[in-house]
Assembly symmetry: C2
Homo-oligomer: 272 residues x 2
């Protein structure tokens, strides 16, 4: 039974594609069969990242063992004029494509920074939702509104409502098992500034109210973005035929962040 991990956050640039890529590589390196689905129809950043990977491996004659690639399939996007017909086509197409991923242990779905029908379908089919977010009240505003006078949480906001509706849809469809919703702080500053503490405090309060838990996150580090043109991640460095990692503190700490993040997802051990 494929475990579906949806990387979602309606807020743009929160780190979804970055988290998706590092999660995909981590899972492959752990020996799993991994599927990938890019629902960002327009920007296709994850697809581009994986395209770069395949091209780089070919040009540098690095084989599949050293630089594994997930099974990636085109998203069931419908261009039909009538919204009702397009949605019906996408809903059916989504079921079909899940079948094609059946041999994968894990399927990682990268969502766009927007509210789309495909993104909602993915959220309703998720076993785990990972929501990366910047350490910022601008990003927080898409999870919940804060009363500027009292500093208290007023209520859930757009993206929290999307997850709630996904949980409703899942329950109505009679699917067993709830969604494990994990919020991951991304691009964190090195210093434990007041802003970081305040955001952390509000996240702790909010997690109890709207049903997510906090995982370990990623710091703001160039290594998380500088290998995109080659389709590589830090975890690929040092593999046969691939350049070695620098022995910098940032690289060492990043490896620790990625490993800790994966562990905190409490994914099922599929090798048993």
């Amino acid at each position: 039974e494929t475990h579906v991990i949806v990387i979602g956050n309606e807020k743009g640039g929160s780190g979804k594609t970055t988290a998706a890529m590092h999660l995909i590589v981590s899972l492959m390196k752990a020996g799993y069969e991994v599927g990938a689905l890019d629902l960002d129809i327009r920007q296709k950043s994850l697809s581009r990242y994986l395209e770069n990977r395949v091209k780089w491996a070919i040009q540098n004659e690095v084989d599949q063992a050293a630089l594994p690639v997930p099974l990636i399939l085109p998203p069931p996007f419908s261009k039909l004029d009538s919204r009702e017909q397009a949605y019906a086509a996408e809903t059916k197409g989504f079921q079909d494509i899940l079948m094609k991923f059946a041999r994968c242990d894990f399927l990682v779905i990268d969502c766009p920074g927007a509210d789309t029908h495909l993104s909602r379908l993915a959220h309703a089919h998720a076993d785990t939702i990972v929501t990366p977010m910047n350490d910022s009240f601008v990003d927080f505003d898409l999870l919940a509104r804060i009363d500027s006078q009292t500093g208290e949480i007023e209520g859930p906001s757009l993206y929290a409502e999307m997850v709630w509706e996904a949980r409703q849809t899942r329950a109505r469809a009679g699917i067993m098992g709830g969604i494990d919703w994990v919020v991951m702080r991304n691009r964190m500053g090195a210093v434990n500034a007041n802003n970081k503490k305040r955001v952390g405090k509000m996240l702790d309060q909010l997690s109890k109210r709207i049903g997510f838990r906090l995982s370990k996150g990623f710091g703001e580090r160039v290594i998380y973005r500088e290998l995109f043109p080659m389709g590589l991640t830090l975890l690929d460095l040092g593999a046969e035929g691939v350049p070695k990692s620098m022995t910098s503190m940032s690289h060492v700490t990043a490896r620790f962040e990625i490993r800790t993040f994966l562990a905190s997802l409490n994914l099922p051990d599929k090798r048993g």
Copy 2:
């Protein structure tokens, strides 16, 4: 004649709302009449930032002179079912709303991280387009595709095409004067890392090809985001009734970045 400044980048989280807010406050502090239009219909981050400002000023009994607010009007969004009718309504509504901003020296328009009809209308009406971007090839990918083998620019990508089409629309409508397209690097790391140099080099090449110029940008600094809940920016600190700025290096440098960015926009002097 109102000078229209559009803050645009289809890439999410590139810093549009942050740039928009700091530009609005800079212009008001310089004594200009400023209008604001938030085209992010769903997330409304700029509207929220300005709402927070008004609430905070009321609660802390700070007057309009110390904490000025721009003229902000609701966007001409159409919910009509037929796309053709909705677009026609928005096109007409956009002309109408420009009239209402006629007494402003500058109108700052914040666009969403998506391709919407309203965003395209704004781009076609822009005198200046400011495109913030992260120091990242992931963000670069929305301006142009890079051949991973040669490292050469292959051609313009989605957002560059949107600006090109805006310039075409403007030319066909017989509007005098071209669009000054300014790309601003945002969230830059303190260190001049290899990645930063490579992105800079590609931006220099690309600017000549697709017709933009590079302005001075903002570093990655908590001060650019931590005052969102109060609706304040660094430039407001120290005004009558408003908390003082810390005398930290980051605040001093941020003030310099904001002033330099404004100057580099070469905006017309409207006080003559």
